[in-house]
Amino acid sequence: MSAVWLCVIVVGLATIAVKAGGPVLAAGRELPQSAGRVVDLLAPALLAALVATQAFASDEALVLDERAAGLLAGGAAILLRAPLLVVVLVAAATAAGLRAVS
């Protein structure tokens, strides 16, 4: 088997298992209160980590590039209570515009 297909199969099976593990094993079970509180905070913690890495990480380095400007513009749109689509478009357009002129 080639390295490519080995990767496709192993990564595919691992991903399926990782995604299904919790939902299959925790089926119909209520989490304890303290666990529930911790799981609730997964959303803000993970979302913030995704914002940080997708805006400032490039491979294994921290960089400040057009994505940061796009995020800043998107953040301003969020503060102005703009709809989700507008936020995303403002961020993309800002980054694209800066790349076009640089």
Binding site: V18, V24, D40, G70, A95
Partner: protein
């Protein structure tokens, strides 16, 4: 969700293009998008293999990147129905975007998770096919600023989790009352009645999560920073009494 379709298709296409350029055959790229359905891990495999890395290195990077789906899927497990096989299949529609979009005040909206996940699945696979067929003739998504769209999307989804309580606090006036509401929200978890369960604790979790991710980015392999950031949710344990309170309140109310 539909407005994000062009971005998803474009990223799927860029995966197809990069996979082809890295020497991954078309069928393998298509099968990978259909089975793995996780952009970051797929890009990692292709980039490691393209740079001459071993299968073990590529698999290790991809598994690390996808490890975040374990806690995310556990948190969303209430959104899935049926027996083990059906739950297994439904859970495959969980990706960052569908998870974040369906996150609702302590619970997850089943229709949104499956709907958004299904649309993303179609877009991602269609995009991969386009990329594999079109090769290098496509525009780089970065030129269109699409790589800046995703952090902004996640920030937009994060904002209401923190904002809800800020507004409440203005009306509530004193801290003690606000704290009671935190407990009340916990007790009714998943029933749509806990819009205020986020607030300062959520802000603390977000700030710590981002801080952990940024601090680890230069010193750990890709994927580790985001997984490690989940440790920030342990700030939820700093309020055990409040988390337990709703039970007592409910018992008192019923007696």
């Amino acid at each position: 969700m539909l407005p994000l379709m062009p971005a998803i298709v474009a990223f799927g296409a860029s995966f197809g293009v990069l996979a082809t350029a890295a020497g991954v055959d078309s069928l393998a790229a298509l099968v990978m998008s259909a089975t793995t359905f996780a952009g970051s891990a797929q890009f990692a495999v292709v980039s490691v293999l393209g740079a001459g890395g071993t299968a073990a290195a590529a698999i290790g990077a991809a598994v690390l990147l996808n490890a975040r789906y374990a806690p995310m899927a556990l948190a969303a497990s209430g959104a899935f129905r049926g027996g083990p096989l059906r739950r297994l299949l439904e859970a495959q529609l969980l990706v960052d975007e569908s998870w974040a979009l369906s996150s609702r005040d302590g619970g997850f909206d089943r229709k949104l998770l499956l709907g958004a996940g299904g649309i993303l699945y179609v877009g991602w696979n269609a995009g991969t096919a386009i990329g594999v067929l079109a090769g290098d003739s496509l525009t780089d998504p970065a030129t269109l600023g699409l790589d800046a769209a995703f952090p902004a999307l996640f920030l937009a989804l994060l904002a209401p989790l923190i904002r809800a309580r800020g507004e409440d606090r203005v009306g509530a006036g004193d801290g003690a009352r606000g704290e009671d509401r935190v407990g009340a929200g916990d007790g009714a978890r998943g029933e749509g009645s806990s819009p205020r369960s986020a607030d300062r604790t959520a802000l603390a979790a977000a700030v710590m999560g981002a801080g952990i991710a940024l601090a680890l980015t230069p010193i750990t392999p890709a994927g580790v920073p985001v997984i490690a950031a989940t440790a920030a949710c342990l700030v939820g344990l700093t309020r055990p009494r409040r988390a337990a309170a709703p039970h007592r309140l409910a018992e008192e109310a019923s007696s």
